[in-house]
């Protein structure tokens, strides 16, 4: 389980997180929604230690996220970045097998390549993609490679940062379905941040809406439409009028 308690983070005078409280039960898929610049990515990166919070507590399975062996801690996570964040200088299979080629999870090269090709197949990519470089792939293919890399070491917890941004609706649907299938199949705990409502409905067990640095509403995805929360209603229906200022 991931637990964030009263997490605060400011960048200069910009108070991004003002006391974030969030619980993600083990084996569930939590989607965090909210407008651009509301701190969704910051929240996600504080769990991984990519950003250090100013105050508050982050626990993963009851243990503080910033204590213990960092490599062991990170080995439990997989992450799909918004732009893919694939390494340009490495081929697709080397990107996917990155973790399996070095460090504590190191395997022989042939075995790592085999696993990489299997993971590529799992996300719908043919083996001939394996020896290409990321720059030779379309945006949708890069996202799939990023997804394959995120699941290559079979992590217990997977983070998805804006998984469908920049993709056409059909490719978005494909990525959403893949994420849902993989999370269910692996029994992983998932945390996704997005403002794409089709992703929310496809991926989420639970939804949390981040607004003004705190969780404005959270609950099961089935309750989202009848929440009665004016902020959430405005967001999910994409209305310009409402308590959330359209121009921020």
């Amino acid at each position: 389980m991931i637990s964030m308690q009263n997490v605060k983070k400011s960048f200069g005078s910009n108070h991004v997180l003002r006391g974030l409280d969030l619980e993600i039960p083990k084996g569930t898929s939590m989607v965090i929604i909210g407008g651009s610049g509301t701190g969704k990515s910051v929240a996600l990166k504080t769990v991984l230690g990519l950003i250090t919070p100013d105050s508050g507590t982050i626990l993963v399975d009851g243990k503080p996220a910033d204590s213990g062996d960092r490599d062991k801690f990170l080995a439990r996570f997989g992450m799909l970045f918004q732009g893919g964040a694939l390494f340009d200088s490495l081929t697709v299979w080397q990107n996917v097998a990155f973790r399996l080629l070095r460090g504590s999870l190191k395997r022989p090269v042939d075995e790592a390549r085999e696993i990489a090709i299997e993971k590529l197949r799992r996300v719908g990519l043919k083996p001939d993609v394996a020896d290409r470089f990321p720059a030779e792939l379309s945006g949708g293919m890069q996202k799939r490679v990023g997804l394959a890399r995120a699941i290559a070491a079979e992590p217990e917890i997977i983070f998805f940062d804006e998984p469908t941004t920049g993709l056409d609706p059909i490719m978005s649907g494909v990525i959403n379905d893949l994420i849902r299938e993989i999370v269910v199949e692996m029994g992983a705990t998932a945390m996704t941040i997005t403002h794409d409502m089709s992703s929310v409905r496809a991926i989420a067990d639970n939804v949390a809406m981040l607004h003004d640095g705190v969780i404005q509403w959270s609950g099961p995805v089935a309750d989202m439409d009848a929440s009665g929360d004016p902020y959430l209603d405005q967001f999910i229906h994409g209305r310009a009028e409402g308590p959330i200022e359209a121009v921020r």
């Binding site: 991984l48 960092r70 732009g83 694939l86 390494f87």
Partner: protein, 260 residues
């Protein structure tokens, strides 16, 4: 202007400069500590050797040969004013080995390697590849910075040595083909005049300049701001800082080696 506000401005500027020196020093210490501790990344180190060393050879060679050739012409023309044309081999050798070889190679490395390291790492930063490395349990200082700096520390002295030889060869060709020097006498004068201290100073300077060039590229790359402007600023600042620090280090090292 109020003298107190002038003093305050000066104080702020000094504090900013000292803070920058402190950050770079901490970055350098961190880099060296990562170089010494496992895990090591031999593939990245081999690539860095290729990029910093092997692929810099053409530009270093061309720079050195033209500099050596021009130096021979200048010394001959200048020496002719007081009947000292004969000193061409000695001055070309000492000029190339003590000063021009290390400094020009250092500046070429700053232009070629520092800029490329800074742009590459800065781009990786703005496209979240550095964050991706961290989530894949790989320390960016170990994976990106340590191999590049180590490769520069080892290959730039070699490049300087090669540059020195090519520069002297450039002078030799001009002197023997255009200025009427005897080839055997030219070589003998060159070898006889050079001291071990000259060669050691050249290689030590190469090592220092290589370290400075790679460190500045990595430092500014890792400190890069967002977007294309951030990458551009990181690249520009890294080359400026590397060039100035190389020239300053050259002055200090020349003092250390030759004013004793």
């Amino acid at each position: 202007m109020n003298p107190l506000s002038l003093l305050a401005r000066l104080g702020r500027a000094v504090l900013v400069a000292l803070a920058a020196v402190g950050r770079v020093t901490l970055f350098a210490v961190d880099t060296f500590s990562h170089m010494l501790r496992p895990p090591y990344y031999p593939r990245e180190l081999a690539q860095a050797f290729l990029q910093v060393g092997w692929l810099s050879l053409p530009v270093v060679g061309l720079t050195a040969i033209f500099t050596g050739a021009a130096l021979a012409l200048q010394i001959y023309a200048g020496g002719a004013r007081f009947n000292a044309e004969a000193v061409v081999p000695q001055i070309v050798a000492i000029g190339m080995v003590r000063e021009l070889g290390p400094v020009l190679v250092g500046l070429m490395i700053a232009a070629r390697v520092t800029s490329s390291i800074a742009a590459e790492i800065a781009t990786m930063k703005v496209t979240e590849q550095i964050d991706a490395l961290v989530t894949l349990s790989t320390h960016p200082m170990k994976y990106l910075v340590a191999p590049r700096v180590l490769a520069a520390l080892i290959t730039v002295p070699l490049l300087v040595g090669i540059g020195d030889i090519i520069g002297i060869a450039g002078g030799y060709v001009v002197a023997t083909q255009n200025l009427g020097f005897n080839p055997a006498a030219y070589l003998k004068n060159t070898v006889d005049f050079l001291e071990l201290r000259d060669v050691v100073s050249s290689l030590v300077k190469g090592c220092a300049f290589g370290g400075i060039a790679a460190l500045m590229g990595c430092y500014y790359g890792m400190q890069s701001g967002r977007g294309a402007q951030g990458v551009g600023r990181a690249t520009k600042s890294s080359v400026e800082a590397a060039a100035v620090l190389i020239l300053a280090a050259n002055f200090v090292l020349t003092g250390v080696f030759f004013s004793l």
